[in-house]
Symmetry: none
Subunit: 264 residues, 2 copies
């Protein structure tokens, strides 16, 4: 990581550093005393105070006060940023964008520190419990679906696609299960419907279709009823805990758990 720190710069040096940083699309952290003005879909004003201003490498701007988890003002990366000295007043920074037309203006009266540099971070952000993870957990725990269920096949090919789970219920009905990680909508229902209809045409037995999702849109519920398909809510949190505990025995405290987890 290539970066530099400017401590207690005069405003001219600060201006120079910020301009260079902006030109090179570097990340800037500016710590200083400032006023803030925002106007756009809403509007706000903030008096003088010591704050952290972050300008990211894609132009996103954040203003953070010393407390609270959310920024007091911000501007997404669709921003053009200008910065200039306003003699006798301070250093003015304007982050503006057109759609929607909004501006964020920051007037620094003092700048304590500027950090300017390039951050390298190409790691992928992974949300746990992907659809396939959910499928695996359900497959390993058939009772989560319904008592006496017999899991037969994951990703069973049907027509062009593949249904997440194929199995038999306690009455030996064929069952196709489609899983969604997010709220089940009409589209998910139709997807399941296509599998069921396609599969039904090849067998004599009754074929059930079940949609599994953390929640369902009203439209999806309506369509499920109309198409005589079933649904079941899954609790992602419980699923996660289940997948953990199946891997190892539970710890008495969160911190113990954390420490163990750290040692993996």
């Amino acid at each position: 990581m290539a970066y530099r720190i400017l401590e207690n710069p005069d405003l001219e040096s600060a201006l120079k550093t910020i301009k260079e940083g902006l030109m090179r699309n570097h990340l800037l952290i500016i710590i200083g005393e400032c006023y803030i003005d925002y106007e756009g879909r809403s509007a706000s004003k903030l008096g003088l105070g010591e704050r952290i201003v972050i300008i990211k490498q894609d132009g996103a701007v954040l203003v953070h006060r010393p407390k609270g988890y959310s920024p007091v003002n911000w501007q997404p990366s669709t921003t053009t940023i200008e910065v200039w000295l306003r003699s006798g007043e301070g250093l003015s920074l304007l982050a503006a964008r057109n759609r929607p037309c909004e501006y964020l203006r920051i007037l620094f009266t003092k700048i304590f520190t500027i950090i300017e540099g390039v951050f390298h971070d190409s790691a992928e952000f992974v949300m746990y419990l992907s659809e396939s993870e959910i499928r695996d957990i359900i497959f390993e725990n058939p009772d989560l679906l319904e008592p006496g269920f017999k899991m037969l096949e994951k990703e069973k090919r049907i027509g062009q696609g593949a249904v997440d789970i194929y199995g038999l219920d306690s009455n030996n009905n064929h069952v196709l299960v489609e899983i969604k990680r997010v709220m089940g909508d009409r589209e998910a229902v139709l997807q399941l419907y296509n599998y069921v209809e396609n599969y039904r045409s090849g067998v004599e037995n009754n074929v059930r279709g079940i949609l599994l999702a953390p929640s369902f849109t009203p439209g999806a519920l309506e369509l499920l009823a109309k198409l005589k398909l079933e649904f079941k809510e899954i609790d992602l949190r419980k699923l996660r805990l289940l997948s953990q505990s199946s891997k190892k025995k539970p710890n008495s405290t969160l911190f113990e758990y954390m420490n163990e987890k750290g040692r993996d």
Copy 2:
């Protein structure tokens, strides 16, 4: 602002500084290379990368990557934070909370810079329009109040105080208008009532009283009815748009507008 900067600290020094900062409820900005683990309502994992971690004075934790306006991970201020060295691996930071039970774990493999200090920021954050701005806009646009209204005076002194707007309706009734920037409550109604009663005693004509606010408490509505006063909801958003377009002819670019605004 009292703060210090640690450049390229070894992990022991970093640990010491972070612990001190946490103990004193100081704000910490940690720039380093780290892994992130989150687990709670959802769960996520993020591989190695250079990031900014901010621990605020109330314990809120933010992790920012070099791009994007939103934090990749965070923890609100209801957090307890622990930090320790994990030999051969790095510096581990755990921010956990109970309701909902969630943890955020950061493992720093390198720490480039730490800023630790106290930020002073007691300024009030004001959203939307000020009461006087609202008053001015309404005054300039009488039809917003009601068709055919004639504006006569702003801040008309009545007794000890001053009512926001005084004017005549289309039937030449005297009208007193009290404006509130936030939800109108009983107190606002009483304020208006006092003006109306006070003013009424000096004139023969009918005197109307109108309370203007973005919304009203049930108690306020009840009291308004009882005191035979009127109310009208104002849409702050529309007002703001109106004030923008009426103030000036539109500028060809946002920057022109900004520069003009800056010279005020």
